[in-house]
Subunit: 147 residues, 2 copies
């Protein structure tokens, strides 16, 4: 069993996609993350869902979540509105990290090692210079767990 | 909107649950993680799915995923069998981390700050000395995103 046997189609966003739209995509399709592609359709980032929230949360709340408690309920409910107009570009990590990207020949163990190492439940598969799709933790477990 | 309004029921495992069973639960229900509870039913850990894989992947593959490529396909397919008999206890992080656990009064912003800070798409809600359920990133986005 190789990556090519485990690929599923996966929504793509670009650095210009509004974060609000990306967040809706995550929530509607219950995705473990998003693949951000460049102008050639190749992955530039795999964005975990929690990274989308990170953009909307004031930095003092990230340092100490208890401080979020000083914001009243009405304003707390509306915090995601601060994302309006912001592009995915602004949610990408400042420092480049090891991307969970592999090739169609990768074995189940290679994919698992990459997921475990990068803490990503989502691995993009690139072959012949293009993004073929993704392998999710769910698919990997469903196919590789002993029956 | 408070945590109590966003709670969904969520499967629980204990440190004694076999990891294979926990992994099946993750895959079957497409969960973002698992809540590990102690003998009083209170969360001792929130286990991300990739942490389950980490147990089964040989450590040299974690250091360098390319080394996983030296294992042939047949053995790679079977790597999750190494989990047989291992309990969830062995998959828990050695060093205790900040747990994504909150109370029923937490606002949407408090929950989001906790998710962003702990990189967890899953927050356990504890009230009156018991685990009431969890708030997932999916539920939070579905309810808090501007329409």
């Amino acid at each position: 069993m190789r990556a090519r046997d485990l690929i599923t189609d996966f929504p793509r966003v670009t650095p210009d996609t509004p974060v609000v739209e990306a967040a809706r995509l995550l929530a509607t399709h219950d995705l473990p993350g998003l693949i951000v592609v460049d102008e050639h359709g190749l992955p530039v980032s795999i964005l975990p869902g929690t990274q989308v929230l990170r953009m909307a949360v004031p930095s003092y709340c990230l340092d100490d979540p208890a401080l979020a408690g000083v914001i009243d309920e009405e304003h707390a409910d509306a915090f995601l509105r601060t994302l309006a107009g912001q592009p995915v570009r602004d949610a990408l990590p400042a420092r480049p990290r090891e991307l969970p990207v592999t090739d169609p020949d990768a074995t189940v163990l290679e994919i698992a090692a990459l997921m475990a190492r990068t803490h990503s439940p989502l691995v993009a598969v690139v072959g012949d210079g293009r993004l073929l799709g993704a392998v999710t933790l769910k698919t990997l477990l469903n196919r590789a767990l002993p029956q």
